[in-house]
């Protein structure tokens, strides 16, 4: 495409390619270092050089006690992320559907919701913990932790949902209504299935934002740590590459979630276009 008449690419092609490779390195090099060091030899330390290659530090993770309660915090974080994803989807999809029509004050409501994205997370967490203290309730990741994470995922999900709804052609709904569908039938049979790829996107955001969350959770999780809090604690008291093994494992989990989400979106799109191949 970017070829000159003589068939040779201009020098800018190579310059921009190099620039893009540098950009990718910038994005991924930090984590790459962690992944490599997580396979450190049995006698190796927290820094280069590698003394060998082993999976010893991964084994150490599952042996409870030696490097904190990784398995417990991991389960806790997955549970929390799943609940956050479900609530985020339920609230944001409903809100998104509500915003299909303009209504008085709709703009104010929207900007109020979106503006909360810029609140400093650490202070939101602090505020929540102060309120809980004032009311005499103990902080707990299931309650205060969950609530504080939602102050982050809900506006984010709403923003995504708006982009999804914005591209939704309302004549689909009118067609459903025209063909005799009730409001609920139209939503269930037409609107939600058409929006499904976007809804999966909202769930993905809810899940990964929660799974990763530190600033809002650190002061509201109570006595039991979520995974990011546990990792933070480990950086101060664990002096073995098991820390890096945690990094590798959590990356794999995030990656799996993303692959599953994007894969299911791709599957839906393919079913919409290649349905015939299977049925013939």
């Amino acid at each position: 495409m970017a070829m000159t008449a003589s068939g040779r690419r201009p020098w800018t092609y190579y310059a921009l390619t190099l620039f893009f490779i540098l950009f990718l390195t910038f994005l991924y090099a930090p984590m790459l270092v962690i992944y490599i060091l997580s396979f450190q030899g049995p006698g190796g330390g927290l820094t280069f050089p590698m003394t060998g290659v082993s999976t010893r530090w991964f084994h150490e993770l599952v042996e409870r006690g030696r490097s904190g309660d990784i398995a417990g915090t991991f389960t806790r974080s997955l549970e929390l992320a799943a609940v956050v994803a479900v609530i985020t989807v339920a609230v944001c999809v409903s809100a998104g559907l509500g915003f299909r029509r303009r209504f008085p004050g709709g703009g104010v409501v929207f900007y109020m919701a979106i503006a909360s994205l810029v609140m400093p997370g650490l202070f939101v967490g602090l505020g929540v913990s102060l309120i809980f203290q004032l009311l005499g309730w103990g902080t707990d990741w299931r309650i205060s932790g969950l609530g504080t994470q939602l102050t982050w995922t809900l506006p984010f999900g709403l923003l995504v949902m708006f982009a999804v709804i914005g591209r939704f052609n309302r004549s689909y709904e009118e067609a459903a209504r025209d063909l005799g569908a009730s409001a609920w039938q139209g939503t269930r049979e037409v609107t939600l299935p058409i929006l499904l790829p976007g809804i999966i996107g909202v769930a993905l955001f809810g899940f990964t934002l929660s799974y990763d969350e530190f600033a809002r959770t650190v002061l509201t999780a109570g006595s039991e740590n979520t995974l990011p809090l546990e990792i933070w604690a480990m950086t101060t008291n664990v002096t073995s590459p098991a820390l890096y093994a945690v990094g590798t494992v959590t990356t794999l989990v995030s990656f799996t979630v993303i692959v599953v989400a994007l894969g299911s979106i791709a599957l839906i799109q393919r079913r919409r276009s290649r349905h015939a191949a299977a049925s013939h």
Partner: protein, 388 residues
């Protein structure tokens, strides 16, 4: 005929105002479409034609006034209780459902079993010759095929009125011509009322029994295509439909049922009055069929001021349209004057751009328009009487 089968549509003093204070999308409009008629709502975008369609469908409610279908007031009823079906401009085929499921959707909503609704849907797909595509997804079909699926989906409820919102606008020229014939054929076959919204004049003229020309939320003229084309009521309709030149002049005298008027360029035109009264000194507007004008080179001594029903000017443009040649003459008054001359006549002695030309016609092809007349709207012009 049973009441629920009657697809007569009446709009009574219907007004639709989207924004208070702004001009209404549709203003105090009356319209009656007989059962089994093919009616085209024709006008530029924003003229209110789609709003009317949506108010008949029940996707929009009038601010005031009533919508009647088959003598029953349906104002405020949901679409499903009106016996109408709508075909959307983008077809709005559900992308996540197969062609068969799309067509069967209305029956599913009515709670019919799968076997029953699928067999009815297959029958309709046969009617639009798409039975082989039942298991395809909409995105796998061409635009023309998608349109036929949308048609089958709308017809499955046996509506008494089919509402079509710009049904041909997404198709290419070839398919557009074929599908408009197809729509007309299906309408005849079913004998139900069609209301078809379009901004294309020739499309409306080609398919409709009744053409409703609209502008700014008003009906300018509602009549048969022949009358719309040959007997436009006013300058707007004449200009919008095309095929007519609009002229205006000051009446010099009235005699023998004709007004003799002088245009701003000094040309003299004769306008048959067919029962209308105009006074000397009044300004009248008239239309003249473009295909009833002869164009020739002026001979020496021309233009002659005493020769009525002729104009002289310089050829501005020549467009060969195949069976005829469109000649645009610059009269110097700003109004475009066009003559459609048969190709065989034109090519005997082709006059080129920039050369002087004289156009002549017979007074019988001139029609008095309503514009500027004091008795405007006071009587119903009977087009067949004019044609006689």
């Amino acid at each position: 005929m049973a009441a629920e089968q009657n697809g007569k549509i009446e709009l009574i003093s219907v007004t639709k105002q989207y924004t208070p204070g702004a001009p209404p999308a549709v203003g105090n409009l009356d319209l009656r479409v007989e059962h089994g008629a093919y009616c085209c709502l024709l006008g530029p975008s924003g003229c209110g034609k789609t709003t009317i369609l949506r108010m008949v469908a029940g996707h929009e409610e009038p601010t005031s006034g009533d919508v009647l279908i088959g003598d029953r007031n349906v104002t405020g009823l949901p679409p499903v209780e009106r016996g109408t079906a709508m075909m959307f401009q983008s077809y709005a085929l559900f992308p996540h459902r197969s062609v068969l499921d799309n067509v069967a959707f209305a029956l599913k909503m009515r709670g019919l079993g799968k076997a029953e609704r699928n067999s009815t849907a297959r029958e309709l797909l046969e009617k639009v010759r798409l039975e082989a595509f039942a298991n395809r997804m909409p995105s796998e079909l061409s635009g023309g095929q998608q349109q036929r699926v949308a048609l089958a989906r709308a017809l499955i409820t046996n509506p008494r009125v089919l509402l079509l919102d710009e049904p041909l606008s997404a198709l290419d020229e070839y398919l557009r011509l074929r599908m408009r014939g197809e729509l007309r054929r299906i309408q005849r076959e079913l004998g139900i009322t069609f209301i078809h919204v379009t901004h294309t004049q020739l499309e409306a003229i080609a398919v409709a029994d009744v053409v409703v020309v609209m502008e700014q939320g008003r009906i300018e003229q509602a009549a048969s295509p022949r009358d719309i084309f040959f007997h436009p009521r006013n300058a707007y309709v004449a200009r919008f439909i095309g095929g007519q030149n609009v002229m205006s002049g000051t009446v010099e005298r009235v005699a023998d049922g004709r007004a003799a008027a002088v245009t701003s360029t000094g040309a003299r035109i004769e306008v048959p009055l067919v029962g209308h009264r105009v006074a000397t000194g009044e300004t009248v507007f008239a239309s003249l069929r473009r295909d009833r004008i002869a164009v020739r080179r002026p001979v020496s001594g021309e233009p002659r001021r005493d020769l009525p029903n002729s104009v002289t000017g310089e050829i501005h443009a020549i467009e060969n349209q195949g069976s005829y040649v469109k000649i645009t003459i610059d009269l110097g008054d700003g109004e475009e004057f066009v003559a459609n001359v048969l190709d065989e006549d034109y090519f005997i002695d082709p006059i080129d751009i920039g050369e002087p030309a004289m156009a002549t016609w017979s007074a019988g092809d001139v029609r008095l328009l309503e514009d500027g007349r004091s008795d405007r709207g006071a009587e119903v012009m009977e087009p067949s009487a004019v044609a006689a």
